[in-house]
């Protein structure tokens, strides 16, 4: 793991921490949903970063499936917030 990857990983981890802070603190439930949306996108990027760190291409498939499931989860959460079915 080179120095550049350590810096990159620290920055991405800090971004995730800030998103989790918004999820915990957020005054309304929409703030929490926005924090969750941001955290899922950052996590997709982080899984791709894992494949760069460990030189394994299999993590790319994990990232793709995670992106699909996170998108479905956020859409379902938005439908719930709106009061629809």
């Amino acid at each position: 793991m080179s120095n550049l990857l350590i810096i990159v990983f620290a920055l991405v981890s800090l971004a995730t921490l800030l998103a989790v802070y918004r999820i915990v603190k957020g005054p309304t439930i929409s703030d929490r949903a926005v924090g969750l949306d941001t955290a899922t996108t950052i996590t997709t990027a982080m899984i791709v970063l894992f494949s760069q760190i460990f030189h394994r291409a299999i993590y790319l498939d994990v990232a793709l499936v995670y992106a699909v499931l996170a998108f479905l989860g956020v859409i379902a959460l938005a439908r719930y917030l709106e009061g629809g079915v």
Binding site: L11, T28, S30, V34, D37, T44, L49, L60, A67, V68
Partner: protein
């Protein structure tokens, strides 16, 4: 190895943009502003980071292109659904906001429905 340097540069830029998205999520005043930083900056950052990994390892380029295309297509859709849901739920805008086109449009729709009936 020019393409490796380019890939590392793109990874660094992407992580910087993801960090800026986190700071924006911390500092912005209301839901809609947070949604803007949390979606736009995150889309650019994740796209840059993933394509950087794909350029660094050219044999992975196809998969990373698929992942970034998917993020590019789905991130605006989910943020639009969240913004619409929170506006319909009645969450107020920040104090300095000057324009709310969606509320005007909803009022106009109600008036036209009254005129029709």
């Amino acid at each position: 190895m020019v393409y490796r340097a380019l890939g590392e540069f793109l990874i660094l830029v992407g992580s910087l943009f993801l960090f800026l998205a986190g700071i924006g999520l911390l500092r912005m005043p209301d839901v809609y502003n947070r949604m803007q930083t949390g979606t736009k900056a995150t889309t650019l950052g994740a796209l840059s980071l993933i394509m950087g990994v794909g350029i660094y390892h050219p044999q992975w380029f196809f998969k990373t292109a698929i992942i970034s295309l998917f993020i590019l297509l789905t991130n605006p859709v989910s943020s639009h659904a969240l913004a619409r849901a929170s506006h319909n739920k009645g969450i107020p805008l920040a104090k300095g906001s000057v324009l709310d086109r969606y509320a005007e449009d909803k009022e106009r729709g109600l008036k036209e429905a009254e005129n029709d009936s």
